[in-house]
């Protein structure tokens, strides 16, 4: 029983970080219908920025989110204006190709700037855990999970309690209607892309403390995060959080009770099973065009 609780807690903590990263991807898709394959690359970029801030300035990588996230937000906005905006309304295949290319360019640039050797960030608490009886909760995971909740909470408030959030939701649910009431879709899209990238940035700063990384690590992240978003329902924020937690728990439970060899595969099998029953994902909504397609 104790082992079960321990593994469940570890899974939930892992899911929290996944949720943060997936939220940005699903937000960008929800508003812009752009599948941002470069999402993982932005995450790793934030990891390297955190690493530099930590080694040069001694800034704790988790506190450093206050510095790295605005930087990554600004970079995301710039990338949107320069690269993504011209093809925002192009067919989805074009945006997938473009963002995949962007991921490759970012990987090469990171390799050039920071090198292709494995990078680790080790703040003082990295090897420490909170203990409750026989249970242990790694401090870095707890801090990371809490930060993920704070950032996700902030995102929720932004989307539901502010004018900007209403504009974003309006643009997502009915772009033409939103434009008719005076919302500039292009400006909203730029903002959404930058916010989405910023959440990847926050996730990247946390992930960099948890795991060593190289520029090429973004492939592992994008594969996992895309699966989470599809599982939760493309464009659904709640679905992304739910999918992420399911993914995290499935991964740890499989590792503990089946075999570590299956740990990264079983969550995908669950995703297939869910999609067979609900093609739109857990909390995704079925669109008119989906119905026509079937």
């Amino acid at each position: 029983m104790e082992q079960l609780v321990q593994n469940l807690l570890l899974g939930l903590l892992l899911g929290g970080v996944y949720a943060l990263v997936a939220s940005g991807l699903t937000l960008i898709f929800g508003v812009m219908r752009v599948i941002n394959i470069a999402h993982g690359a932005f995450l790793i970029l934030a990891g390297f920025v955190s690493y530099t801030a930590w080694t040069w300035l001694g800034i704790d990588p988790l506190l450093g989110i206050l510095l790295t996230t605005p930087l990554i937000f600004a970079f995301g906005w710039l990338v949107y204006r320069l690269v993504v905006a011209p093809i925002r309304t192009a067919p989805m295949a074009s945006t997938v190709l473009l963002t995949f290319g962007l991921a490759l360019v970012l990987e090469a640039v990171m390799g050039f700037v920071w090198g292709n050797n494995s990078t680790s960030i080790r703040p003082s608490y990295v090897d420490e855990s909170f203990t409750i009886g026989e249970l242990f909760l790694p401090k870095s995971q707890v801090y990371g999970g809490l930060l993920a909740i704070v950032v996700l909470g902030g995102l929720y408030v932004l989307l539901t309690r502010t004018w900007i959030g209403r504009a974003i939701r309006a643009a997502a649910s009915n772009p033409t209607g939103a434009e008719l009431v005076g919302i500039r879709i292009s400006a909203v899209a730029a903002l959404v892309f930058a916010i989405g990238i910023a959440t990847a940035g926050a996730g990247g700063a946390i992930a960099a403390v948890l795991y060593p990384f190289v520029p090429g690590s973004h492939y592992l992240w994008i594969a996992r995060v895309l699966a989470i978003v599809v599982l939760g329902g493309m464009g659904s924020m709640g679905g992304a959080v739910l999918g992420a937690v399911m993914f995290g728990v499935a991964e740890t439970m499989t590792s503990a009770y089946v075999s570590p060899a299956w740990a990264t595969a079983v969550p995908y099998a669950i995703m297939f099973a869910v999609l067979l029953a609900r093609p739109q994902g857990l909390l995704g909504s079925r669109l008119r065009e989906d119905v026509v397609a079937t």
Binding site: L10, N116, S118, P138, Y211, V214, T252, S255, S259, T264
Partner: protein, 419 residues
């Protein structure tokens, strides 16, 4: 060829044409059309070109970068001494991004498009398995600095030669035999084997397990984990529950770092810790797990900078001059591959006949910075690895005794503030 465009069909025709050209070039490279082997000696005047594809990015970038350094130091030293058969050596190194598909395309391209005269191998068994098959099909000598998995040598290849001391299933042999030679009260009673699902890592840990089980050391855990495993907490949670005296981790690099970090977070420290590859990567390893956690970690290693093997002092000095610091093991392994290739070419006196180069290697022993190497029919070597141990933040060579840099062995793993 593609049909002529008809009105309104120009774009489609262009796409068809491009697809046709792409398909043809893919097919050509897959079949090895225009293979460089036969044409190798036709450009006598120019440099000898030697091709390799290394994992310069991706999961295996750590050893890949080091191997590139080793090849480049070898090239520099060979050229400074007048080259190979009086011709300068030119390296063509591609990046396979740690990908098994890319590496096949890379070696095909090296042979059929770059028309290289000779090949050198890549890093990790995972990548050498398909790369060596391309070389074999094109009947080109394939001297590899890594790729010691038993699978490499049971395919009946004639052009494959491994240049570390022994295949990986015997990599931990010296360590395991030393461990079971300890007095009963110091010897571990139980062992756990968390291992990366990889053709290098699995036989390494299985080779050790076989010796330890025969000596009565009970296996309490053996599991493999996938290469994209980031989260080691649950594996360590199981290990903690089993409380083994010894953990043998068949690792490459990041996974080895991840496992130790998870052990530290869980407050679990086995009495003994052995890892493959990762601890041999010097400062990168210490930075990854924290220097305070390195004390007593044991591993097999092929090269010692202090070794008095022929040419080693010059290699270490040249490496320091070109790149700074001490050479990592993987750079030394790559350098040794260069030495073996050089010995074969100079022994035969020509690069025309790749089969003759292979025959020469099968019949001769080559002195390298890793010690003398000789090969059986399969291209596998038959020597012993060194055993390294982290002591006071440095790597020491503790076994075998004749190659040891210290007579002191730290008895077990003593991480930072472990209980």
């Amino acid at each position: 060829m593609a049909p002529l465009p008809h009105p309104g069909g120009r774009v489609r025709a262009s796409v068809t044409l491009i697809a046709a050209v792409a398909a043809l070039s893919l097919a050509a490279s897959a079949c090895g059309i225009g293979g460089g082997g036969d044409e190798a000696g036709e450009q006598d005047a120019g440099p000898i070109t030697i091709g390799a594809s290394l994992p310069l990015t991706g999961e295996f970038s750590q050893p890949g970068q080091a191997a590139k350094e080793g090849y480049e130091v070898w090239q520099e030293m060979v050229n400074a001494e007048g080259g190979l058969l009086g011709r300068q050596v030119e390296l063509i190194i591609k990046d396979d991004a740690s990908n098994q598909n890319t590496i096949v395309a890379d070696y095909n391209a090296l042979i059929s498009q770059d028309n290289v005269d000779l090949l050198l191998g890549t890093f990790s068994s995972l990548l050498n398995l398909p790369a060596s098959a391309v070389a074999e099909r094109n009947q080109m000598l394939y001297v590899e600095p890594a790729g010691g998995s038993p699978e490499m040598f049971n395919r009946g290849f004639e052009y494959l030669f491994f240049t570390q001391q022994a295949p990986v299933d015997r990599q931990g042999q010296v360590f395991a035999e030393w461990l079971i030679s300890l007095p009963e009260d110091q010897r571990p009673k139980t062992a756990a084997y968390p291992t990366l699902d990889d053709p290098f890592a699995i036989p390494t840990s299985e080779g050790i397990e076989e010796i330890l089980v025969d000596a009565g050391i009970e296996t309490v855990y053996r599991e493999t984990y996938a290469i994209d495993t980031k989260n080691f907490d649950t594996i360590v949670n199981r290990l903690k529950a089993e409380q083994p005296d010894l953990v043998v981790n068949g690792a490459i690099f990041e996974d080895g770092i991840g496992l130790i970090r998870a052990m530290r977070k869980a407050g679990f420290a086995p009495g003994w810790l052995y890892q493959s590859t990762a601890p041999s990567l010097g400062d990168q390893y210490a930075e990854g797990i924290g220097p305070e956690n390195t004390e007593g970690v044991m591993f097999a290693i092929s090269h010692a900078p202090e070794a008095e093997t022929p040419g080693n002092e010059e290699f270490v000095a040249k490496y320091d001059e070109m790149l700074g610091g001490l050479p990592p093991e993987d750079a030394a392994d790559a350098f040794a591959s260069g030495q073996v290739l050089q010995a074969a070419v100079e022994g035969v006196g020509s690069i025309e006949d790749q089969a003759a180069l292979a025959d020469w290697l099968r019949e001769n022993e080559v002195e390298t910075i890793l010690g003398p190497l000789s090969w059986d029919e399969t291209g596998a070597t038959e020597g012993d690895f060194l055993v390294g141990q982290w002591q006071d933040g440095q790597v020491e060579y503790v076994l075998p005794e004749e190659a040891a840099t210290t007579d002191h062995i730290v008895m077990g793993w003593k991480p930072g503030d472990a209980n």
